[in-house]
Subunit: 233 residues, 2 copies
DNA sequence: CGTGTAATTGAGTAGGGTCAACGTGAGTGG
DNA sequence: CCACTCACGTTGACCCTACTCAATTACACG
């Protein structure tokens, strides 16, 4: 357990007693694909860190539609802030893949923060990054067309969970997680139909290689052009 | 100066030496309506707190459209996180009104944080609240129609800078800041034309009393119904 | 009273949502 | 190994929301 904790960038550097305390209040959890880690509205009693696989946070709207707030990969914390506020989880967290997480009691995290202040600075930095990304998405959703948003979402995913693939000399980027049209729609604020149509267009143009729940970027540069709206229409 | 600082909730409670240090690196600034406090891309050397008036943070899109990230009123910090990262401001900050702000050098804020850790906890709470609001907006922009988003934006503003007005026994809520159709459009991710049309509808239905750059909510409850989509279409 | 900015309103249009039908691939069990 | 099933994906037709373009009006200010 201690070994896992010390590999998490957010926690590494903390003095041994602090880590020990955290370890005592941690538990490992295995999640099958599609399994729910916590549900929107549950009291937030623990903070979770992804150790393997990918996990996503979704919010349900009253109209039944789901919106993906974020996708979290290796060593990223989920539910970090809520735990500090003794609040309830703002969304539902679902494993996208066979995943393992380590769950640490909120109380232990709060203790660690007060005992080891630099920890708080790291938390602030993470929050800062998330807020910036949220603002980016707000800007996109407010002003940009679906194709462009989709291109950006795909590139963001590639950045986060992309792996380079060399197939007979050609380098491509594979999005390393199951990725349905539906989940892309929930990431970009559109419908799976529109996503499907756009991906088909890109496929025809040779930009990507899309399959069932998977996506390989063949020509990243051209996708960037779409994301930056540098293509003349 | 010290007096101003000690009235800011985020800083109140800090020990005197910390406040003294902050005060030495603070300066007051008066902003006329429309004046720019800082510009997108400027190096973030200071954190600002609103002492009077209102200020808004906007981001420019490549397509020329502006998006309002947030409106900040009494005692709210602007540029808080960026200063910690030695980064550049993510948007342009503009006074909506005749306003005064107190600007504190980023270095002094960082010193205060390390010398007085509880300060960081407060910062985390503020960031948490902002992130939640950002997620709300993402959810709205992804899934909801313009009229509903507009209703929510108006209610949020009322919550933040609304003042109750009693006119011969009738209680109404006035949004206490200059508020053009254009700025409402930038808050909701639409165009001023659509905002104008919807406000006209609401006006006709007697929900609001809209004028040039001002808005009074006459029947808040019905606006809530629209915001919650409880009106049968 | 003139001028500039904000607001209104109409007409036309397109992006993308909705509805619907069909195709396809991965498991599952006989 | 094949048939069955289910979830995922594709594509077409239609339509509506909201954007664009454009002209006009109202208001505040000097």
């Amino acid at each position: 357990m201690l070994d896992h904790l010390s590999h998490i960038p957010l926690l590494s550097g903390a003095p041994a007693p602090v880590l020990d305390d955290l370890a005592r209040e941690s538990r490992l959890r295995n999640l099958a694909r599609g399994e729910i880690l916590f549900t929107q509205g549950d009291p937030a009693l623990a903070v979770h860190f992804v150790l393997s696989g990918r996990v996503r946070l979704i919010q349900h709207t009253t109209s039944g539609q789901d919106v993906t707030i974020g996708v979290f990969a290796l060593h990223e914390p989920v539910g970090l802030l809520v735990a500090l506020e003794e609040a309830t989880y703002p969304g539902t967290c679902e494993a996208l893949d066979q995943s393992t997480v380590i769950s640490i009691s909120a109380a232990a995290i709060v203790r660690a923060m007060t005992q080891y202040p630099p920890f708080m600075l790291k938390v602030i930095k993470i929050l800062h990054a998330r807020l910036m990304e949220a603002n980016d998405r707000i800007r996109e959703l407010s002003a940009e067309r679906v194709e462009r948003r989709l291109a950006r979402a795909v590139l963001r995913l590639a950045n986060k969970v992309g792996v380079k693939e060399e197939t007979h000399g050609v380098s491509r980027i594979r999005i390393d997680m199951p990725l349905s049209r539906q989940s892309l729609a929930e990431l970009t604020g559109t419908t799976l139909h529109t996503v499907s149509r756009i991906l088909s267009d890109w496929q025809r143009a040779g930009l990507i290689d899309a399959g069932r729940e998977q996506l390989v970027i063949v020509r990243p540069h051209e996708l960037v052009l779409i994301a930056e709206e540098l293509t003349q229409p």
